[in-house]
Structures are given as C-alpha cells and as structure tokens.
Subunit: 346 residues, 4 copies
C-alpha cells in the first residue's frame, strides 16, 4: 500500500525513467545546447502557445522564486494567499532572492478572490510602502481546490487593469488542467497568466520543473536570472528529457487523471464514514478531512509510510491525504477501510 | 569518437544510472528523509571523516555559492584566483546571493600562492573595505593543475592564522585526489579545508553535488541555507543515490583515474607534435595547448561535438581539451592524429 | 499654530541647532574619528550602561534595518506587530537588505503579547520555514501606547528562553521613557533589550539616530554593516553632535515630556467633546480618535499644515494627532476648539 | 593651518549652515513635501536640464549605489577603474545592495579609456557571465584627474552603442566642472551621462548628496529605491536646503574654484622642491606626490590633523594632499614650507 503523505513520496513514472536512460547516449552539448532540451522547448510551445518560452529548472522553489524575481523589482510585492507554498514553505526564499515582500491574504479554501487584490490598492504610489506588482495563485491550490477558468480570467483582468501581472504556481498544474478538462494552454495562456511554474516532479518526474512565460517578451534575460539563481543544469538533457516525456504523449494528463480520480474515490469513501468530514472541495488530488484525534493517532501508528499522511491542522484535527500518479484503487480502499476501522474503535 | 569540449558533455556512468533506477522503488520520504540520503551521508562521513556533514545539492554553482554564503557575512570577502569558476562563470551568483565581494588574484597556472593571501592584509579592520574571510581554491584548478598536499596545508595555515577559512571548489575533486594518490579525506579534511564542493556531475552523475563541512560545526543551520537557496530536492533520493553510487565502490576513483590517464596520454601525444605546445602542467583531466590558428579552425570544423573542444584564449591561440570518465584511448589517439594532420597542412 | 501631522513635521530644537553650529569649527577627523562622535559614544554608555555600544546613522529606517541585519541570518525571521513601522512603512527594506521574513501579528493596541511569540514555535527546526530569531517591539508603539517594564521583561524572557533576541524600535524611545518615568537604561538594557534604535529625529534633531547594543558583544562587526548599509557619514560630527545635544543635558527628556504632556492635554479635551472617541490609551505623544467623517473633512480643509493631521483608518473615521517637542498648550487648545466646532456643525 | 587629509575634514560652508538655520522655521511637510525640497529640485533642473530629476540622499555611498541599482538588474555588471571609490571604499555595498559585479580595470591615472569598455565585449550574451550594463567613471577621478568633455562624450558613445549606460560618480563634480570651465549640465547631461551622484558634502555641506537622472525616464520608481535603500530623510528640508544653498548662488562653483586653485598652488610649490615629484596631473583639488619616506614620516608627526594627510601608496612613498573649500593660501604655503624643510633634513 502506498502512503498518502505527499505526491513527492511517489517515485518516477517508468516512462520518465526510461526516457532518462535513453538520453544517456554518449556526449551531448551542456547547459541546454542539446536535442532533448530543444525538443522539450518545442513541446512547451505546442502545449502553451507558439510565443511561450520555457526554462528548465531543478525544483519548485526555484521555479516560483525565479519567476517572481523576473517579474518584479525588489520594492514591489506579491499578493498571495497566506496558505501559498511561496509564503509558508519556501523558508523565505522569495524575500531573500527577489527582495520582495509578500502581501498575504487569509482565504477560506486556498483561493484568492477579487477583493483580495483591491484591498492592496490603498497605498499604491506611496513611497513608504511596497508596490503590488504580482498576483500569485496556486493552481491547483494547496488545499486541493481548483480555480475555474472564469475565476482565473477575472483575477487576470483585475491584475492587468492595475498594471500588475498574474503568476501561477503550477506545482500541480497537471492536476488542475485534468480536473477542468482544459488544455494546459487554456488554464494558463488563455486565462491571462503571465508567468508560471510547470511542475513535473509531483507529476511523475525524478525532479524537473519549468518556468514558462506564455508571452515570450517577459522572458527577456531570464537565462541570466536562472544561472545567477543557481538553477542552470550542466547536463541539462537529463532534466529536459523528463519534461519531454511528460509532454510528448500526454503522460502528464494520464498521471494527473489517475491521481485526481483516486482523490475523488477517497473523498467519496471517507465522506461516508461517520465521524469523518471532508473539509474542502476535492477538485484535484488532495483530500482534506477532519476526524477524531484518537483515530488520527491510530492511523499514524498503524499505516505504512514516513509518515503515512500529514496532520494539516493540529488544532482542528484535520488531515491531508494526497494521491499520486501511482496511487491505486486498492491503496484508496485500504486507507478508507483503515479510517473506518480507526474511527469506529470505541 | 567522444568530443573533448567538457566533462559535462559526457553522460552518466552506467552504474550511476542503474542506481537511480534501483532507487525508483515505490514511495519514500521526501526532502532527504529516505534511506538513500542517509546512506549517502554515511558514505561522506566514511570518506571525509566522522565529523563531516554533507548536503546534497543540484549543481556546482549552488555547491560553491551556498558554501561561501555559510562561511561569510556579506561585508566579508573571498580571495580567489581570477580564473576561478566562482569569478568567471557563475554570472555573479556569489555577489548576488551571498552579497560578498571576490578579491581576485592573477595566477600563472590557476593556483593561488601564499602571498596572494598576504596582499589583502592591508585593509583588515578598515570599515571602508570588505574583510577577507575565505580563501577559495579549485582542486583540480580550472587550468588542470593540482595543488600538492603541502601547498594546501600551507594555504590553510595562512588562512587560519588570519582567522580566515579555506574553501575548496571540488567540481573535479575526484580528479585531484586520483592525481595525488590521496584519499578524499587527505585532500580535504586532512589538508585543513573548512568547506568544500564535492562534484559528482563531472565524475559521472546525471547531476549531483554535495557541500561538505569536514568539521560539522560549520554546518550549523546549513539546511536552512540550502532550502532558502532553492537547492532542497523534494525527491532527494534521486540525487543522493547518485553520490552513493560514486562513493560506495570507489567508482569516483575509477572514473577519475580514467579521465586523468587519458589527459596524460593526450598531453604526451600532442606535446610531440611540432607546432603544438602544452601550456600548463597536465595534472588532472585537462590539456591546455597552443597551436596555429588555422589548425584550430580546421579541427573545430572537422571534429564531432558541439563544439568538439573550446578555444580557451582567443588571443593566445590556446585550446582546452577535456577528458571525461568515458574518454577512451581511441578517442585520444583520434584527436592526436587529427591535430597532427591539421597542424601539418601547409 | 503647529500642525499635528507628525513629529517629523517639527523642526530641530534650538539647542540642537546651536550644537551643530558650534561643531562647525575648522577641520575634524571624518567617519567618526572626531571628538563629537567620541563624546556621543560616551554619553550613550552613560545612559544605556557601560557595555553599550552605539553607532550613529542617518534615519530610523536604517537604524531598524541594520540592527535586524546584525541580529539575523537571512533564513531567520522577525516577529512583530502587523502595525510595526518595520512592516508597514519601510517599503520592504528589512526583507531586501536583511533578507529576512517578518512574521506579523494582529494586535489590539500595537503591543505584542506573550502568546504572539509562542504561536510561531510550531515550525521551529523545520527546514521549509523561516526560523524566528528576533522579537521586535516599538516603544512607544505606533499607536501611542507604551509597554510597562514588566511587559518588556516578560517579552525579553520569552525571547531569550527560545534563543531569540529582543529588538526595540525606539523612534520614540524618549517618549516611552518619559511616560514610564524610567531612565533610558531601565527601558532598554535593564528590560532585556538586545538591540535598539534610539530616535533622535522626532525628539528634536535635524536628522540623527543611533543603533545601540546594550551588551557590546552583539555589535561585533557592526561598523562594517553600517558602512555596507550606506549609513556611514563622512562628516559624522554633524550627526553625532545632535545626539550629544540630546543626551548631555536631558534635552531628550524635556522634549519628550513636553510632547507627552500635550498629548495628555489633547486627549482630555478631545475626549470631552461629544462625538469624539479616543481609541487607544494615550501613553506617549499620540492621540488617536474617531469622529464623524464630515468633521474630519472640515478640519482637514481648515486647519494649517500639509496635511494638518493624518486620517489613520479611513474605514473607521479614525485620525491621528501627533504632538511634538514644540507643540504648545495654545496649539492643543486651538485644535480642540476647532474639533469641537467641526463636530458641532449640523 | 587646515589639514590636507580629506575634503571631508572640512566643516560646512557658513552659507550652508546659515541656510540650514533659516530652514528651521516651524513645521514643514516631511519626506520631501516641503518648500526647500521643491526649490532644490527646481535648481537641479536649472543646472542639469529641464528633464533632470534629482533625489536627495544622505551620503556618497548611497548616491552611487542607489543609482547603480536603478540602472541594473543583478546579473548585470559595472565597468569601472580599479581605483573607483565604488570598488575600493564602499565595503562591498554595490555588490550587496544591487547584487551586481564590478568589472574593474587598471588605469594609469584613474581614468577609463575606450578600450577598457571593449575588452568586456567578449562574453556578452553568455549566460555564464555577468552582462556589462553600466560604465562608471569618477569626475574628478580619485587621482585628481579630470576627463575632458570629449573624453566623456566618447565614453558615453561607446557605452550607448552597446546598449549600456554611463554613470558618473560626482563626489567632486563641482571641482571637475570648475576645472573644465564647464557648466554642470555640460559635464553631465551634455556629455551623455545617464545618471550621476552630485556631491554636496565635500563641496561644503554638512552632509547632502543627490542622485540626478538627466533624462527623467530613467528615474521611474526611484523614490521607492531610495526608500527601500534607507535613504529617505524624514525632515528632508534639512538635507535639501544644503543643496539649495550650493546651487542657488553658485556657491558650488566658488568653493570648487577655491579648492582647485589651492591644489594648483600647492602642486607648483611642491613640484619645485627637490626630492618631491608630483605623480598625477593636478586638475582638480588633489595633489599626489612622492617624496622620501623619512620626510613623509616627519610631516605626519609634525603637522596638525588626524592625520595631516594620507599616505596613498605605501610601497611608492606616495602621498595625497587634498584641498577643500576652506583651504587658504596660507595653509598651502605652510604645507609647502614644511615639505621643503622635511625633505631637506639630512
């Protein structure tokens, strides 16, 4: 049984690993001057639009922070949900590398609303205060919810009419697109996104992400930002080929659909268990639920995994169960059965 | 025939790739909480000393810059050769991330001498000037030369008696150790090094480096520096297992010896060709040579590779031929024959 | 009639200006190597304790940011009220220069409570999250309230038992000390403060502040931080002599008492006006009050000053009236009369 | 007798001090919202051109570093003489605040030549290397020499044709303009300068500098850079009025002419002394000279000042004698006599 702690606990998809092995074919140009990187770049244009420019990086922290850096000057600021990975889980990397301040907003389900942007208008032009320049949303959100295309377009419009830009943390972009039945272009370029992280790692890579600028002109000089940001791979073919594998045959979509479907299955099963409450809409590959604390403790002790899953909110007895590309119906059913059992113990 | 452009043009050693594939075994803890990372850390202690602490990162830029950051405050400075990778090829990453200034020194063969440290003593304590805190050397150097253990110990002593620290850029540490017939501990911990980059990528990895602190106390808080520096891998097992593969069975040494031996072979053959002059001692895996410009142009046009090799100093008609773990005697002989032919054309 | 917009609207106290003029006496050593700076440093030791080390800087932004920089590494963080000047009014200078993240807390009256520190304990040691290192309080607070010595000691103890440090933004330290009837040492060194800004500008200087480290050892290397932070004055005597003037004859105290007394007088008069509510305790030199919006608009239009005072919270019809060293009873009475008149207009 | 250590050893010109005292006139808007600042800005337009925008800051370090920051992204670089104040005497502030690297060039007399720019063309577009963006010159130079207007225009053209910008460190701009008989506009705006520091402090202020952008569009957002750079004065009138005093009645020119004339007088007298060699052209207010070491030591011991002057190059027995706005013919004659005496002692 696979654990439900994180989609980072899953390994690499066999097709990705096979592609990496196939790329280990003699000598090749370094730092991106190789065929795998060129093919990956071409695939990004196919999926995100002909003007899109994509840059491979190693991990999601860097994909987000370097994009933010490219879009801002240090006295500018980023509006984002307080739950954003950028705010909670990057150890201050945005502040340090880009110099910017994050203007955080409490949200109910991890999604920014229109008036979360408007509230920062008051000190625009005031030299004593940072100037909002970027709206950053996570799609899917950290709470497993998904912005509709209409919601995204409205946020993009609100940003653009203020001279701001829309950034999308797409660590789980594949899951969001799969959930919406939308293409990658629909959920980014078509929705008004100005820069985004495309997450490969959680989608089945060993470790590969990309910064994508749907309109290429915002990418000017980004190769230097990436290098100075310590994210230029010398043997880049081994990063690029992973993304090529995801994008070439819709592996990205198959894997995301599988993870999402397993979350839906789990939510349905868990929601039927007395004493368990699903706390956020299950729109991507995460299930958040509250259950009695003794049941949580029992499950943590008995299930496999380091840990088997995370307690998300200690005060609220809320847990997160995360499904991956490799989560199976058997995994889900086993978890649901264990939950049911744990909850029912007197 | 393999090109001689860079040891980054080589692929991954089959044993490394096999280890990566073997690590793709179901779910595992993320961010280093996995068995491969624990084993790699144990191997670093075995090779560098029981007090050593090692941290996996993605690439050499980060390994160097994060180590420098850990050793300095921003008003401090790093003394290094003007030819240091840190100075010439990191796009200003040390200045930007660590905030420090590099105090560069012209050298004859890429190696720092004792009085290159002493010359910066004059403004110690002067609040208008950055304060030298780190001496950084590359071992092997960017010019393919190697510091003897005595030279290293003397530099370490000169640094330490000034309250400074010795940093070693070990992108090619394996080649240096192999050249000296020394253990990894001899050439680092035993020689007084305070922090170092251990380069796996050029030594046969897909992409894996480590920052090593021989005396663990200098590593305090480094896990936060790595994370904030955007170098914490989520599926870290796939980085760590590469280093495990290098260090477990002395693969690092076999690969380095092969590369070094090929450089020696090439230097011997090339040095015998009239019109070709080997310009630096060949002590590791690089051969620098000057030859007539028409011969260079002919070789660049005719040999395989993108490019086949680099012109190092355009003004001096000097080229760099770099050997890798996969360079064969046949590769060397073919290059030597091509050079001989190119030079002899009237 | 003097306006009530800010204690920065007041000019320099005549004794300060006279001291500056007297310091314009031929040549003197630069960058602090002069008698005025030496005397100011001696006065800081007299007022803050024999181990204190003080460094003159130009303004309050720098005093706060450079102190924070000296106390932290960039992956560390500062706990402060959301209303802190550091958070709201420094245009992101702490984030940019020190690289740190601010962990902000909503407060009722601008004062941090003990459990505002405890709430950040949860992710201590978690490499994904910044590590709290400094608690920063403003004394007097931005809302004109003052921490008691007991409150300060409790915060200091809570910080210290976690290995954290207590920073005090003392832009209005003189007002706080005057309000408490405490010496400058009592309210800083004696209360467990580890670093502080001593604000001279609002207390009657043309422009002069100091960073003070009550225990000198935390000041190690601060002369370099100040220089690299662009705050080392070449003709430093003209900054230092201003602080000398404040500290030599208790001018700091006389000025603070005057400003505080005027605030008390204003609060009493305004509080008696029907329709006016004083919204925070008046413990230093600021009066916050809510009054009907039409009255606010009338006062802004009729009273002298650019502006005559600030609307603090547009949504709550709350204004701030700030008293200065030069505010007179006549100023206060004139304002109170105008308010009374404005409120009573039908 | 005034010492010759630095133009920072001189006090403030009486007219500047009088202007400061006159500005201490009741309440005024803070952070630049006052009449003195508006008048200073108007005077900068009168002297530098109608499109010029000027921003007051506290000191020369900040004037240079903030201008560089405004002109660059962190992966860009600044070409400057190795002797530049920016490189030698700012404790790494440009590297830390702007993140940029300085590309330094050895010069004979402190002045950059055309081919010092061309030499950095080689790695333009190479992602591994910082990209030259700014040429920075000091006018007058740190060695007391002055660029002709033709030399400046040629450097500006060389910068502009590469898409680079010309920055001028004008800590002693007044001296250079006086030496050239040129207006401030001639030597900046008219010569192609894109951003500059206008130095008031050495020219007779207590402490006041300005960043000037001759073409206003480069100033976009600079008010935020200044604030985030910790250089926004709260009682700005007291900074601005100093610059107003310099620029209103050509006080800047009178003071600069006096200092320059004294340097010429000193060079003539010293150059006639056997054993003394003037080592750089004396074009502004500094005299560099070599003389026998025993004479140097004798002068340092006997003359007034802390120190009386600086030894510039210990190895070459070279000293710097710096003249100020307050240097008198009697000061010069006394120094010359002392030198003559010191040199003649057997």
């Amino acid at each position: 049984m696979h654990d439900f702690a994180s989609d980072n606990h899953a390994g690499a998809h066999p097709e990705v690993l096979a592609a990496v092995a196939a790329a280990n074919d003699g000598h090749a140009g370094s730092y991106g001057a190789d065929g795998w990187t060129r093919r990956a770049e071409e695939l990004f244009r196919r999926h995100f639009g002909a003007d899109a420019r994509a840059f491979c990086v190693f991990n999601g922290t860097a994909a987000n922070v370097l994009a933010i850096d490219a879009l801002t000057r240090p006295h500018e600021a980023v509006i984002c949900p307080a739950t954003a990975h950028l705010n909670l889980d990057e150890c201050g990397a945005p502040e340090r590398f880009a110099g910017v301040k994050l203007l955080t907003v409490e949200t109910e389900h991890g999604k920014l609303r229109l008036d979360d942007i408007a509230r920062w208008d008051e000190r625009r032009g005031d030299q004593h205060h940072v100037q909002p320049r970027v709206v950053s949303i996570s799609q899917a959100s950290e709470l497993g919810t998904v912005y509709s295309l209409d919601e995204m377009r409205a946020l993009a419009a609100a940003a653009h009419e203020r001279g701001m830009l829309l950034h999308l943390d797409g660590a789980r972009l594949a899951n969001a697109a799969a959930a919406l039945g939308a293409s990658l272009a629909d959920v980014t370029t078509g929705a008004g996104v100005d820069a985004l992280s495309f997450g490969g790692t959680k989608n089945g890579c060993l470790g590969a992400e990309a910064v994508v600028f749907p309109r290429g002109e915002l990418a000017a000089g980004f190769e230097f930002v990436r290098k100075q940001g310590m994210q230029l791979a010398s043997k880049m073919r081994f990063v690029a080929v992973q993304l090529e594998a995801l994008l070439e045959d819709d592996l990205w979509l198959r894997s995301a659909r599988q993870a999402n479907a397993m979350a839906v299955r789990l939510a349905a099963l868990a929601g039927d268990i007395e004493g368990v409450e699903v706390t956020h809409l299950v729109e991507a590959n995460a299930v958040f639920a509250s259950l009695p604390r003794p049941a949580i403790d029992r499950l943590l002790a008995e299930l496999p995994g380091e840990p088997p899953f995370y307690v998300w909110d200690e005060a609220a007895d809320e847990v997160r169960w995360m499904c991956s590309w490799d989560t199976t119906p058997e995994d889900v059913d086993a978890l649901a059965a264990a939950v049911s059992q744990a909850v029912s113990v007197p």
